[in-house]
């Protein structure tokens, strides 16, 4: 199949189907309602299920139920909707069920606005729900990358038995770009007999499986948390992803940026290069696990005077950038939120300004 011109939201829906996910529960919210609109038609065509929940709270637990039964399942929402699902995310993670959540972020806090934002970085990478849990968080910067990440999210969720979150912003959902659906990312069903409540009928072992998040015994709960932590440490070892841009030669500043914002930064870097000012970028493709080593190494390069975290939020990712760099060079932040996306010219001014004195 050749390239097709598709809106990000529709491409995300199609990608899930191509990845073998035939269960989609959701509740509409701008700017991602086109996913549900698209899948309400497509799921019927491919014999899958689309069910609109009565609220995002309900959707969260529909996902929990389906995932606990061993079904491949996903949902999409936008910021306020993800807040409502956060309780379920904590439960699902504790009960170790694989599922995929897509957050097409809009401006917050509160009802905020409907335009693109990256204000849910903390919520996605540090919690949102209660307890010591982590999501595997991927951040696409194009419609094609959103397709790939959605398709890859299912095997990652199943590898770790942990929810994966795709963190996009309103522009990723609303833009149209040419996309291809890679055949090699089609995911075969995996055997979940060891843990899923998928019926004892076909299993050789006749002991029932139990999916739960209640551990009243403190010793048992501690060891459960240690086991979860071991999974998050394994994510850090095995599945960190990032893209390095213009890092080969010498450079005077390092930008760390993700998603739509990173594309604006890439153009700013190209323009600054024409002026003779070299700037590099690390673009995290996984926000958890964060590419700590790559950021640290890039910031520690001789000649790099400053690292700047550029985000459509009020200084969230910058904390991970500081933590990664560990004082090897000064760390700054620049950002805007509420739906205004900085232009390349604005980023150029910011970088030039930081290099002045």
């Amino acid at each position: 199949m050749g390239k097709v011109l598709m809106k990000g939201n529709e491409a995300i829906g199609e990608a899930a189907i191509r990845a073998g996910c035939l269960n989609y529960f959701a509740y509409p919210i701008t700017p991602q309602s086109e996913v549900a609109e698209y899948l309400s038609r497509r799921m019927d065509e491919v014999g899958g299920v689309f069910l609109q929940g009565e609220s995002e709270v309900a959707v969260g637990y529909m996902i929990f139920g389906a995932a606990g039964c061993g079904a491949r399942v996903f949902t999409t929402s936008s910021s306020p909707g993800i807040s409502l699902m956060s309780e379920a995310l904590s439960y699902i993670t504790c009960a170790q069920c694989p599922a995929v959540f897509v957050n097409i972020m809009r401006g917050g806090p509160g009802l905020g606005g409907i335009l693109p934002s990256q204000g849910d970085y903390f919520q996605a990478t540090k919690g949102g729900g209660h307890g010591d849990y982590r999501l595997f968080v991927m951040a696409p910067a194009s419609v094609q990358e959103a397709v790939q990440m959605v398709m890859e999210a299912f095997p990652i969720a199943e590898k770790y038995r942990n929810p994966v979150m795709i963190l996009g912003d309103g522009l990723i959902g609303q833009m149209m770009e040419p996309v291809e659906f890679p055949e090699d990312l089609v995911v075969k069903p995996t055997n979940k007999d060891e843990w899923a409540t998928n019926g004892i009928g076909n299993r050789s072992d006749d002991s029932p499986n139990l999916v739960k998040s209640l551990f009243l015994d403190p010793v048992q709960l501690n060891s459960h948390n240690l086991m979860l932590k071991a999974k998050y440490d394994r994510m850090r070892r095995e599945d960190v992803r990032y893209e390095a841009y213009n890092t080969d030669g010498d450079y005077r500043a390092l930008i760390v940026s993700y998603g739509t914002m990173s594309r604006v930064c890439r153009t700013a870097i190209d323009f600054l290069k024409e002026e003779g000012l070299e700037v590099a970028m690390i673009r995290p493709q996984t926000l958890f696990p964060f590419p700590e080593e790559a950021v640290r190494d890039a910031a520690g390069k001789a000649g790099c005077q400053v690292a700047v975290s550029i985000e459509m939020s009020m200084g969230q990712m910058v904390e991970d950038v500081e933590r990664s760099i560990q004082g090897r060079c000064p760390v700054e932040w620049y950002g805007k939120c509420g739906g205004e996306v900085p232009t390349p010219e604005e980023i150029m001014d910011v970088v030039r300004g930081m290099l002045k004195g």
Binding site: I114, L115, L171, M175, E177, R263, T267, T343
Partner: protein, 179 residues
């Protein structure tokens, strides 16, 4: 080489569709392309605008301060975007609805009565196709024959509208060449 085209007008003037047809034509011609709608809280009758970026290299920023070209279908759009068009770009003005001009002497200004031409072609609803064709003919960003194929494809499921839109295209192209 990258060029950006800003389509702007009232909601209901077919802004998003004409931008999509341009984006599709560019993709089929082998370009990298991004179609970026305004999706703010505007309602029917409000302003609608949509940017198409095409390039022979991967496209970085989808946010562009100074587009290369402008297709303005109503007055607020012209007033908002004409000052930011890059020098040398095409500024198409729908003179059926816009009594003023761009006040720029460093752009290629093309003022044509898009709505009236569409009515003559058979329906005012083809105004977006008149404007799109005139723009492509004037700017030369893509081939007119390729554009014709895309318009036919877009209306394939409403085939009875194809003759109307071909007529709209012919009028747009002719106006661009004679103006």
């Amino acid at each position: 080489m990258q060029s950006e085209v800003m389509f702007a007008g009232f909601g209901g003037q077919g802004i998003l569709l004409s931008a999509k047809i341009l984006a599709y034509t560019a993709m089929e011609a082998g370009y990298e392309v991004v179609w970026i709608p305004s999706y703010g809280p505007e309602m029917r009758g409000g302003t609608a605008y949509c940017m198409v970026i095409m390039s022979d290299r991967p496209i970085g920023s989808p946010i562009v301060k100074n587009p290369m070209h402008l297709v303005a279908m109503n007055r607020p759009s012209l007033e908002k975007f004409a000052p930011v068009v890059k020098p040398g770009g095409v500024v198409l003005i729908n003179s059926s609805l816009i009594p003023v001009r761009s006040q720029r002497d460093d752009v290629d200004e093309l003022a044509i009565p898009v709505n009236d031409m569409a009515i003559e072609a058979g329906s005012v609803r083809s105004a977006n196709i008149v404007a799109l064709s005139a723009f492509v003919a004037r700017s030369g960003v893509l081939s007119i024959d390729d554009l014709r194929e895309s318009v036919k494809k877009e209306f394939a499921r409403k085939a009875k509208l194809i003759p109307l839109n071909m007529e709209a295209m012919d009028r747009g192209i002719e106006a661009a060449q004679n103006a």
